[in-house]
Symmetry: D2
Subunit: 263 residues, 4 copies
């Protein structure tokens, strides 16, 4: 049995894969779960093992009933105690008007973005509380703190998740479980998510952002590592990240419509 | 056909009933929809008519598929144009630990608190946009802005709804539809909701809060009226309300644990 | 002696003047205070009197020591009880880099934007508390909730003021004093402030915003009236306003840099 | 000349001293500045040197004109480039009613809490921008995000500072300067600040909070180190910290006044 497990729900080649690599390098057995593409999954597991770490991969249909629960129980039973988990799922579908957001889509956004985290917490917190410690990291989005046009499904799901992270933190932090909600306020160099959304425009997009213009998932993984190892007397619950050239969500674009500088 | 309709989704004797009365007194035909208790519904309709206003009542199972949509179409077709709607539903179930929050309960909270609003907006915004104007008022809760212990279902649903209100506002305000998210940060003198939750402790609770210690739903109705009639050059999107003696959600209790006053 | 006084600190022809007119029409004796332009002040007072209301005007150098205090005492003594006050001062100087923001400018922003409100509260709350009631309205800005580039002085002053409004509310709401912080998240048709900043570009700017594209100060005055007359069981502390076509501060521009709609 | 300097403005034995130790252990020359107690300062410097690091100490009256500016220039000229600075000053005076908050006290809170940071940024950003990189860390407080009763001076100063951190970030992040606003939402084991405020009640207070019940400044120093070394493609601007048993500022106390659990 592994001494400690790091479970990644949504382990693509971007954030999830890099987080798994980082925690494996730190001595965790990384369990990578993703919905499809076994070959891509195997690539990630192999890379970790080649670097000297321990890893396993498994396909997971997080939207289906019982799957997340079964995975948690299986890992706890067969691999080792899940000391830290990264919930790295969302359902960003691009910009759609309300009329173009089908009911089913709106619901799926909630199932993946929020309900899955609820189910994960249900399954895992009893284990973590019994051990008196644990970390639940959530890769979240700016949509959790403000709702842009065209983002009905995504923002509602993210807003739900953010409040759930607060209720989970309120109940479980005093019991030793660190819940951290990470607002990724910028594009990430993630081929399996943003890359898929943009298709062949991905490379050109990254080039247009300039050096260090998109989040390097290895850098975010380092921040996840830091959060998961903060002593319990100094825990952060909400952290934002963005590339240095990105305008924070709360700011206007640097070129507002009217020039108010004194002449 | 009525010149203008005010539709209340969730018309109990508290906020919904009083809002319906206020808008009816202002010349709207008030349509009151609630899940059960036809007698209570009839009482509200009668009170409005006795006061000289126009009103209709209808039972509505908002959680069931197609019901909200059917109601909107029926009202628009048979009664008149819905110039303003109040979404007054939630699913506050009291304080429950995560372990005591069944999956079905968590989902129902979302269906009533958020998905119902999404469905209402889907059905109603085409009408309002065609008319170039309309108001969507949402009675919301502090749980929309922070998640307390024991509030997993309610806070997640309210957080979702708050972000949905922002995405709806982003898409529809420029098209003339005023979306207002009202955070009721305090107890309301509402027999059908808080009264039901507290049972025979309700009167004693109100007495313990003192004069003006709970929100008078008639006062809130006045604020709803104001919001619904703000000229479109001066619209408020988010408004908080509370009794003057209530500690705002962002503050600590007035008696913090440690006395830091200089001796 | 007047039965009730509405004091406006910063009574230009825009927000302050219109608020004074509204309250005067509601039976208050409006006292208008501004830094300069006695002729403009007299025009506002005359307009109120011609409309049948009561008003007085006075010049006030709010940044100077003792002036706000003296004004409050003089009004309470000679005109009547100040039931409501509108603090309508700021020090928006346009967009300046840090290097172009002199220390003196930064400090003046704080003196007018925050310290003046502190002094006003010091002078006035004893009177309001003795009466068991009162309203302190503050015309604030988006800069109170987020700091844009070039806004060092203004945002710091507004951020200070917003927190001061919360501390004042925490101490005085239970004593019957309603403190309301109004975030004006858009341009106002105000010749003495925005008009002065833009000079001859003002009319063109308003035209470019389209019908109802800037806040009509008469509409905002109506919201101030509503806030000042909310029953104390249903008080709002923070309210935002903007024209329906303005993008709320929390949203991105409607034309984000990358088109993420599915093809 | 040192290769890189870490300047601490407000280097007491708690947060400032521990941060200085951590950065010195990471190869920085730590410059510790505090208002008084040269002996205490020397102790901190000695501890760093005994542990193998480089450090200097200097007295600094941050409220006085020109002092912060002179210090920055002196360090840049005589010791080395200030790659990172920690602004660790505030003016928490305990809980005071408005009537018991003298004007001078309110202003001093702003001078130390906000204006000092403005002056520091004025002096230091030209150097950091010329180098294309730098970090400005600010130890902040919950008072920056909400204003409790009795906190007029402190909250106004912290609210100002938070907005200033946003404007500084907006202007300088794209130029390579990382600005991070850290909300310390809990008590810190800091003898020179909280210890001084509580006097002989300090030890008893810490004991009453239980194990890991107050922030260990060494743990916070580790988070400061992490923030200062995030790659510029993944910068955090605002981070909260608290002990795991502390109730986050946004939550109610765990024992709300009314038991709403179903019977």
């Amino acid at each position: 049995m592994a001494e400690k497990v790091f479970l990644v729900i949504g382990a693509g080649a971007g954030i999830g894969g890099h987080a798994a690599m980082r925690f494996a390098q730190g001595g965790y057995h990384a369990v990578l779960a993703r919905r499809s593409d076994e070959a891509g999954l195997a690539k990630l597991v192999d890379a970790i093992e080649e670097a000297g770490g321990m890893a396993s991969g498994t396909l997971l249909d997080a939207a289906a009933d019982g799957t997340i629960e079964e995975l948690v129980e299986r890992v706890e039973r067969d691999i080792g105690p899940i000391h830290a988990v990264l919930y790295n799922l969302g359902a960003q579908i691009g910009s759609r008007t309300l009329a173009d957001t089908p009911h089913r889509t709106f619901e799926l956004g909630w199932r993946l973005g929020c309900f899955g985290l609820f189910r994960l917490a249900h399954a895992l917190t009893p284990h973590m509380v019994a051990r008196g410690s644990g970390t639940i990291l959530v890769t979240s989005a700016t949509a959790a703190v403000r709702g842009n046009a065209g983002q009905h499904s995504h923002a509602a799901a993210m807003g739900a998740r953010r409040m759930l992270c607060q209720t989970l933190n309120a109940e479980f932090a005093p019991q030793g479980v660190h819940v951290a909600h990470v607002v990724v306020d910028g594009s990430v160099d993630a081929p399996d998510t943003l890359g898929k959304l943009l298709g062949d425009r991905f490379e050109g997009y990254k080039a247009s952002k300039g050096d260090d213009g998109v989040v390097d998932p290895a850098a975010l993984a380092e921040t996840y590592w830091h959060l998961a190892h903060q002593p319990r007397n100094c825990w952060s619950h909400e952290v934002d990240v963005r590339p240095f050239t990105d305008v924070p969500w709360w700011n206007d674009n640097p070129n507002p419509g009217i020039d108010t500088r004194p002449k």
